[in-house]
Subunit: 324 residues, 6 copies
């Protein structure tokens, strides 16, 4: 599929003609009283929105989230937001690409490689309590861990994003423990692996991701703490022993501030580092996307998740990077 | 003991002569290089500080927290703080009062009455999941629940304070559900009973109360959530079933704001009410103490736990109340 | 009227056919340049909005606030907001219901009962200065007090809402003074009755409520303080005598924080309690409405007046409550 | 007295020998258990503190606030705070200066001149309601207005400071209305004269100034609003007429922000200007004092009332100013 | 042109017929899928918006920013915002007014008078370093200084606004140094002249003003500091000499708070005064515009740049001012 | 000197006997009126305070900052702060260690190695403008860069700390650009090298470090921007060319938030990363010191520069680390 033109490859005003997935489809009423469908198109290159005007009842039934469609139109900019002006839309027919999986954004590392990396790191968790708890919890949520996104939107909101984000933090953590040898590497690695595992309970899954009731009422931080405490009984561990408390604290404090949902602020060197590495990876991932979607010499739209800042893309890119 | 004069009964400049408990004793160095002991005296009427100057090594060994002493001195005010100027101090001798228990501040309701009240309320928790979880957790922490204070300092910092504070909230809750019948009474009662139960893990016990490592690294809110999740297995409950989630949410959100340590803000009517009743009882308890310690016609010192406000005690007290 | 179906009784997608009041009618321009009327329909069950498209000049003249209309349409949800899709609209004719009063939301307690309750409570204000000031001010604003809403929107925004909200606080206050006998009941009751009386000057009246110039430039808190000071002269009271100051402080501090418009923070035990009971009643009233308008198993829209939180309505309601 | 050396004229380490007033005298206990008196000395040049060690009971009786004393000692700096090391202290004897009035800081404009300026400005208040209200209220608080300080500490904390601060604002206001002719000069002048008049009720008087109970429970902003409303009856004015509301709003909003104690934010052009001129004059007065007390080439101590900032005094002063 | 009716002279519902400048023209898509042009019309009386519906490709090419057009329509209010309903629009023809300059809002003082005022003030900067730096920098940015606006929007957003705002501050400064003689007048004047000079680099110019890349990445405060340092070399000044540092500090701190973009808070008396005079002039300018655009007896829209406050225009204007 | 016992090697209550440097010596007055000297002792292991009671005038002359002394005493803890109780103190005599340099804390990397690392990195700055600006500015401040501390206190407050902190960030930056190849490595490296170079102007030097006047009035961020602009003239660069602006922005925004003194927030991907790496290195350095000074199983004192948090040192250290 590499040679084919994808959704994000079109320039402004270029004619668009390709198969894409309907990521979401909301029926709304226009100010003239007629209904239209607000669509988000997606393929592995990214996503972009478009409006399907004057939708009939049949259109509303056909064009729903999860369908692959054939789209003809024009790439435009609407008040700095990219969008597709739709000329023609129809469902993909048998014999054409109809498998949604082919169009879903995926982590840029395959699952086997990610499993390898995690398994290698677990060997480095030489403290037995932490090692056992990580194995036990990862065992229970194995499949979700390698397929869930890391968030509903913002950063790493793609299939496998949760494991990929975790691995990015682990890579940073490996550099950091080498540079600052006083840090307790096994604690940092164990905390990094578990810190967002609660998202497998907080979120509904890799596609059309929403928050579960448990996610809304409890939140991923406390959900995984509960599961960790619960795992202590079969492992014959005391949830209030010092080593268990240290690992629980790593997870509970990783948002850094009470205002961001951590019930305690980091009180361990490693907890503070985990929080910072988490933020570093998340913000670089967001910034890469933001800058990629900005024309050279322009400022991006305001990025809500980064305090509403706008980011500048210089007219010359990094020398190491081929122009995309 | 009612007829005897107690620590808080002395007026400024009055001579003091009585048995008291040493609640705490810190050895410090004066600016002239000599050591002194900063003491806090306590009996059931309250507590007050005093300084024992030019302490010998023997004094330092004798006058430690938990000892009953005979105190002679004068009640003074040091920059609006009451204190005792010590004239003479000695350990209580055999035959004199030596049992610390006699001097410790206690909840103004005895344990049997508190147990009765709690048991009665549990009958009103007609929803089976909540009833079973309350019984199970209260069963595990029964003794601590009825003897621990509700806090290290500030409000209800006395023996039995945790249960007494819980019961005060339950009484308010009974009035409120009668006035607003849409509220789910069993949920509000179950949440009220469990909301601070984690303090039995967070705090060290009824005397010389300090924070445990679990208290410092995890905090009472998440500690009891962990225990609740853990209790689900023997009770064959799913910790992510809706009814369990509702009860967990009551506990987790009861501080009201993320900044105050709740990992989620109240998202249930009953959770919002529990938070408000908790604050109402805690603040009235603090205010009663503050106003009691202020002379009529004067403002109190600043109360740190109430935003640093100072409170005025009018020259005339409430008509219902006998002058104290 | 109990047997007839009312505005809030219709389910989503159900056909609507009934008489309702036009609570408000704003003429706006659609993005296609044609005018439409944004209507809010009201009856005693609540209110809901709808858009009347392509309005002629005659429609604009007919469909104005205060008219009773016959409405045919369909109950819909527009981005989680309930609304009516209008099929047919006409003014009520002679012989049909045309009295707006029949459609206006009212306090769930009749005026006579409310007057009784207030009069009973005044007997409990045994301190003569407070008793006389309450009688004097209530005498001057009697009619407004029993008919005005407590707010333009948010909570108790219905006819008689001001008195009903005051009575709800007084009921809570009665429970509280029984449980905490050190509180000065007459002061708390007098403060509760007067705390929002300034709204009779701040607001324009029970229907199509707006802010007056005095409301905008001075605010209800200071307006009633001014009236209280002015009432001192005929009553031969000194506005700076301690007992008058205590009552003024109750009123002035009842918003709790300077940021919320109180020129002083509560510095009396009773002032702090009044502030908390005011918040408790206001928030329960809002939450009852919010939860009532939410489907079981769903989260409400964000509630602006409650920090933008969303509230969950469990799939099972309180056992005491009949399913509505 | 101009030729005599005054308290603030001594350099660091210089021997001090002069008559001064005891502005305040607090008996405290040293960490060695002996009592000392924390004194503040004052004359018309300013004030400075000193400690009188090992005070006898007789010393405590003699050296009280309001006494004139003969002081011998040395000017020192204690952690950047100027202070006097006391060598010898005694009460002033008959025949020596004993009148406290001679040592109290005074406004740099005499009372007659201040009365003239105010009277001239009242003539410019051409709107009759505002003119009558200003005359009526100023008439009632005439003597206090010309003798009270503008604050307990911080700025204009000297005899006549209230009137002097008011006049400084009026002078600025005259320049401003000339430069911006759309401003309503009579409204600005009337608001300026009344804005702090409530301090005559909030504060106890020109010497040993403290807050009154009315000051603590109500505050000067609302106190003068109450008096203004009360003045409406004899003047046959309606306190809710537009012109009266405008003047009340000027007073009520002059602190600019709710957080600073104004129950409403400025909603009139003139109210916004009054707030800014009030801040401008107050901050220049504070800064003049702060910079005067700082050595050239040094930074001042942190100024609490100016956000804890430190201010630099350049090595060269303003060319217009003689070196002081 | 004085006698002709201008854009802001029309009352609501009045027919509009005049030549105006297109200040901006944004092509947007209506919710019915058709494009329209959102226009802002401008002449020397002010600006007002209007929508040109169903725009053809030719319309889009014709009606662009900078064109003079003949406009026929009606003055309306759309949700309290004034706007023009367009009946007919065409480009101005040869022989009709076509010079944009004739329609651009200008400072209410001509350039020659502004140059005079600035030159006079420079004579009063008697300190040689400051005098030379002011002359040098003003020399380099002379033309921009007298033609640029002071801001993209908000206050003084008109041709010559930068110099006019500077002069307004200087006039206030002259009054203030007369009233408070300890202030260093040359420093205050030099700081005032340079404080916003960086806007000549930050902004693109007097028409269709946008931010430059330097403006976005560096900001006017630091931009002019850089130019000042750079000017030191040819003038043989040390950028870290005390007198240069004082002037740099005046510029750098003039926003008053770090949150407002000043890298340091004012630490000089004169810097604090400059900050306050800057705010005073800016807010009066904004308020004059806001109140002018509000009907007597009404509140304005919320003013974003003044904390979202709404301002009241009394029914009677200032006596000095003729009704406009 | 490695084998000798150093200042930080003594346990609580252990007798101390060694040569140390007086880092600071403040003469203060005890509450009994006698003077004492508050000393800070330092050697390469760290620093600790002690009080020299009843100091004579000769003692005050002898024991001044910069002197090497022979100290005998006892290591104690005063309210969780470590201190030395002094038994005997005398100046070091000829023949004993008297060179302060031997006792000053130094970066844990020697100067030659640091120069090498910096030079290597400069080769990687392949963009010519950035390379030339870095060389030019580093050339001017070479000696200060390799000897100054990175701060007056908090982190890297030792000789060579500025270069060492810069190199730590560069090491992190090398890992990060490898992991995230879209980042512009030359820009990140150039920004990292220059970001704190202004500290060579802001601070007075490696010993007894204080803020200069330029540091206090301008701050290191803007100081180095000024020098960069000034360097453009000899290098024939335009300070407002895009590449120069990018580098200036890296420096100006590196504190991340306006509240922390950056006049602009990061608007480049690399600027955001630089800010985060700066914080990461600074906080790990602080945490290492804090945890090192805490006993296993204890919480540290509150760390002001880390939001007042207390940090826990687990009973078991990191496996990689030898027990210290």
């Amino acid at each position: 599929m590499a040679a084919t033109k994808q959704l994000m490859d079109y320039a402004v005003d270029e004619a668009v003609d390709l198969f894409v997935l309907l990521k979401s489809a909301d029926v709304r009423m226009a100010k003239n009283g007629k209904q239209y469908i607000a669509l988000i198109f997606e393929d592995r290159s990214g996503e972009i929105s478009g409006k399907y005007w004057d939708a009939s009842e049949e259109d509303v039934k056909n064009y729903v989230s999860g369908q692959v469609v054939h789209l003809q139109g024009k790439r435009e900019n609407y008040q700095t937001h990219p969008q597709i002006k739709i000329f023609h839309l129809r469902l993909a027919k048998p014999g054409e690409p109809t498998d949604p999986e082919m169009f879903i954004e995926q982590a840029p590392m395959d699952r086997a490689a990610m499993e390898d990396y995690i398994n290698q790191t677990i060997f480095e968790i030489t403290q037995p309590t932490w090692n056992r708890l990580v194995r036990k919890l990862l065992g229970e949520y194995q499949d979700q861990f390698f397929t869930f996104p890391a968030a509903k939107s913002n950063h790493h909101a793609f299939k496998g994003g949760l494991a990929f984000h975790t691995i990015s933090i682990l890579k940073l953590a490996h550099s950091v423990v080498k540079q600052y040898p006083d840090l307790n590497a096994p604690l940092l690695f164990a905390g990094a692996i578990l810190h967002d595992l609660g998202k497998t309970i907080e979120l509904s899954g890799p596609q059309s991701t929403t928050y579960t009731l448990a996610g809304n009422l409890i939140g991923h931080i406390v959900l995984i703490d509960g599961e960790l405490v619960r795992a202590c009984d079969p492992l014959k561990l005391d949830p209030q022993a010092e080593d268990v408390l240290l690992l629980r604290h790593m997870i509970l404090s990783h948002h850094g501030l009470l205002e961001y949902g951590s019930p305690v602020r980091p009180a361990l060197r490693e907890a503070d580092v985990l929080h910072q590495l988490d933020e570093l990876d998340a913000s670089i991932m967001m910034l890469d996307t933001v800058v990629d979607h900005t024309e050279p010499g322009e400022f991006s739209e305001r990025v809500f998740a980064l305090d509403g800042r706008r980011f500048y893309r210089p007219t010359t890119d990094a020398p190491e990077k081929k122009q995309d």
